[in-house]
Symmetry: C2
Subunit: 218 residues, 2 copies
DNA sequence: CTTGCTATTCACCGATCGGTGACAGATTGG
DNA sequence: CCAATCTGTCACCGATCGGTGAATAGCAAG
């Protein structure tokens, strides 16, 4: 093909364009950060290659190069999740003496409730978990539940549940309740007729939660 | 524009195409059915005009004409939801005498658990509710919670919760637990470490649920 | 049969999606 | 200095999305 006009465009006024430095590590981090931010703020619905690249301010090709596509990127998010949990939920008893299993579960429940309320990324992941059954989300889900189980185990210490109670099943119910109520509140400020807007509402929820725990474990 | 070649294609072998009768009412119903089927089977993720039209075997234009687009269609689904609930959850006490509020809540919890487990459409809607905050899903959500509240009210009869317990908050927790555990089981056969595959597993869940209810309401 | 009316289909639009191949500029090793 | 390598950009692909205007096919009354 004949070259007709190769006139180079020379901008008369040099735009002080941010000199994008060549730095793979920084770019990888920017991509990962953008992915987490996007997922936390927009949810999994419009979470895709194009959106992440846009958010990271780089070309989507780099996501393929550095993470092997969305799958790898999601996996990287999952890897982060461990420290994420450790950073956000206290690992000690807060100076309290947890004498009984009931004490423990009450504290765990309230801590988990507050932590989930404060963590949009976690919330989006939980919502994703119950909405889709792809390999991607399965990995994320595993990472999350593993981190959570580790936290619980560390907090449990040597306390054991009372005999005659299927603690695993009961606790699953309790944690399920917390997760659902927090998810519901995040999208509609209520759950099953219970308002969940101000702190007053959440006090009521926390009290109900305590009552349930104490009703089972004493 | 000059007509160059208007040769009409005449298929040599007449395909025995299903003679599509002209019947607006039937088409509307087919569209609504396809929408419910699609939502129940595929979830809200790929729920759109094109998919519904494909599922109903008609052109998407008809969805705009008859329902005014996806919004109207979703609203129609919501309208159906009332009878949907009434059809699937028993409205009487099943021959049992519910003497106490605890009896009532235990029965309601187990009925709701089974009903939700057996109803994929409801499950998808609940998952949708906690994943998105659009106007569409808000309408659906309202219809669902209204139907549910009505059912509970009918079942409640004259029973009143014990004094000293915030029944609204506690019940919200209980229903939240049921919803989340059923949603989780539908996508991953487990919830918070508790397996939820066979009937044995569900027995454990039901027992835990009863224990929680009895722990609060006696 | 002709003339409407209505149900239904068809063709096309612009936007966005995930994905890929080719290229440009900076860096580095010989 | 040149050549290879690495980082980053760009243009393009086919598919699908929601949405719309126009044409077509069947029915009913005149």
């Amino acid at each position: 093909m004949a070259v007709a006009n190769t006139a180079v465009k020379i901008p008369l006024e040099m735009p002080v364009v941010e000199k994008r430095v060549r730095n793979r590590a920084a770019t990888e981090q920017a991509i990962l950060d953008a992915a987490k931010r996007l997922l936390a703020e927009e949810g999994f619905q419009n979470f895709g290659i194009n959106a992440v690249a846009r958010g990271a301010g780089c070309d989507k090709q780099l996501i393929y190069r550095y993470y092997g596509g969305l799958n790898g990127l999601v996996e990287a998010i999952g890897t982060d999740l461990g420290s994420w949990v450790a950073d956000r939920i206290p690992d000690d008893t807060g100076g309290m003496f947890l004498l009984t299993y009931g004490d423990l579960m009450e504290r765990l429940s309230l801590l988990f409730l507050d932590a989930l309320r404060a963590d949009p990324l976690m919330r989006r992941i939980v919502a994703w978990e119950v909405s889709e059954s792809s390999e991607q989300v399965r990995r994320l889900s595993e990472a999350r539940s593993k981190a959570l189980a580790g936290w619980i185990e560390r907090m449990r210490g040597s306390l054991v549940p009372p005999k005659g109670v299927d603690a695993q099943a009961v606790n699953a119910m309790i944690f399920a309740a917390i997760q659902h109520i927090v998810l519901a509140s995040a999208v509609s400020d209520q759950c099953a007729g219970l308002a969940l807007k101000n702190n007053r509402d959440w006090e009521k929820a926390a009290t109900a939660l305590k009552r349930i725990v104490r009703g089972v474990y004493g």
